[in-house]
């Protein structure tokens, strides 16, 4: 139910009392509401759904997941 896409925070500012930001989706830039990620900093990656950031992307977790999956993939190659 949830098309949410990762993007990188380029700028953070306030408009009409709402925390907003400019997000780069890999060549597409759009303004997004950052109210739900108050701890966000420029350079962070966040997951965006209908113009709202829902959470920051945890780089460490992302790396660990990929490492785990890589290990799983390699297990089968060597067996």
């Amino acid at each position: 139910m949830c098309l949410a896409v990762p993007g990188k925070i380029l700028e953070i500012y306030e408009t009409n009392g709402l925390l907003m930001g400019k997000i780069d989706f890999g060549g597409v830039v759009r303004e997004v509401c950052l109210t739900y990620v108050p701890e966000a900093k420029v350079g962070d990656y966040t997951i965006i759904h209908v113009g709202f950031a829902l959470n920051l992307i945890d780089e460490k977790e992302a790396m660990e997941t990929l490492a785990l999956l890589d290990e799983i993939s390699n297990q089968d190659l060597t067996e």
Partner: protein, 359 residues
């Protein structure tokens, strides 16, 4: 008591004010104002002997020395309705010329002449009209065609979104050329001339409703030069198609239906700009359905595919050309895509409008 004498002066129109700033209804009425609009705006920019003769129709002479065979003409008409009128990479004028030039070129024809019919909205700024017509002049020069007949109507404020343009074009098909969507054969190779989705995404961004910015320009361009180069290299082209509205997917489906064949394309081979891909991700669009205005699909016998590809890549409008698939016998009339994982899915024609999704 006699009736008051009617005041007839009230219904007489004073000398019309010169309307140099904006289009008014009078410009479309066929009288002096129409004549002035044509003389001042269209004729100087579309200048050619056929047009400046000033008759009701343009006269084309096909010289008797031209051909011993039948003369085959390609004729196409298109109405252009685009918002916004100006977008990165082009405008409605350029679109109007290139769209029809390209349709004619897809039969292998050399585009020669074009007509242009304008429906203008009352209140349109003259300067806007000038820009559009100038853009048409530039595109026509690029395509080496002449605009030899035209028409102008004006509608009330609130209709026509500023400008609607219809163009009809005529081209001559050289002897020995037989290109049609019915000619695809199993075993043929499918090539696309460059990156997909540029036009659709550029216009959507320019429209502003979805509030996103992207460094993508429309690819709108006349393809007859590229086609001529390709035909110089080989006469064995089976199909040419320009994937406009409905995108690559819809055009491939049309060809599959016309030729009663199947088409298999490979996801990893389809050229696409990263920013177009990103915009499609964000909105939930499938890039295979996004419009192009300066790209073509060519289907050829596999024996000449590689050499044709090299020729295309040498041309400025074909630098990103790529082989993207093959024509198959089964499943006939269907288009399939092989994903990067080796799985297969069906690619249907576009159904309805493409809408951004939340799901």
């Amino acid at each position: 008591m006699t009736d008051p004498i009617p005041n007839i002066e009230g219904i007489m129109c004073p000398l019309p004010l010169p309307h140099n700033e904006r289009i008014v209804l009078g410009h479309g009425s066929g009288g002096k104002m129409s004549y002035e609009l044509i003389s001042k705006v269209f004729l100087p920019l579309f200048k050619n002997p056929i047009l400046t003769t000033g008759d009701d129709a343009g006269l084309i002479t096909i010289l008797k020395e031209v051909s011993n065979d039948d003369i085959r003409l390609a004729i196409s008409t298109d109405s252009h309705v685009v918002m916004p009128l100006f977008f990165p990479g082009g405008d409605i004028g350029r679109l109007a010329i290139c769209g029809t030039v390209n349709d004619i070129s897809m039969l292998g024809a050399t585009p020669l002449y074009m007509t242009a019919g304008f429906v203008l909205e009352e209140g349109l700024e003259m300067e806007t009209l000038h820009k559009v017509v100038e853009s048409m002049r530039v595109a026509a020069a690029e395509a080496n065609i002449q605009i030899i007949a035209g028409d102008t109507k004006v509608v009330q404020n609130g209709k026509a979104d500023g400008i609607y343009i219809n163009t009809t074009g005529i081209g001559l098909i050289p002897a020995g050329i037989n290109i049609s969507g019915t000619n695809a054969k199993p075993g043929d190779i499918v090539i696309v001339s460059g990156t997909i989705g540029d036009h659709g995404i550029a216009v959507l961004a320019a429209r502003g409703e979805l509030n996103f910015k992207v460094e993508i320009k429309s690819d709108v361009a006349p393809l007859n030069g590229l086609v001529a180069t390709m035909l110089n290299a080989t006469k064995e082209i089976h199909v040419l198609r320009d994937p406009t509205r409905g995108g690559l997917a819809t055009s491939l489906n049309e060809i599959a239906l016309q030729s009663h064949v199947g088409i298999m394309i490979y996801e990893d081979t389809i050229p696409i700009k990263p920013a177009v891909e990103a915009a499609c991700e964000m909105l939930g669009f499938d890039s295979l359905y996004v419009a192009n205005e300066g790209k073509l699909i060519v289907i050829v016998d596999k024996s000449i595919a590689d050499s044709l590809l090299s020729v295309m890549k040498e041309h400025p409008l074909g630098t990103d050309a790529a082989i993207i698939g093959t024509v198959t016998e089964r499943p006939d009339t269907h288009v399939l895509l092989k994903t990067t994982f080796g799985t297969t899915r069906m690619i249907d024609m576009m159904s309805g409008e493409m809408l951004p999704r939340i799901c």
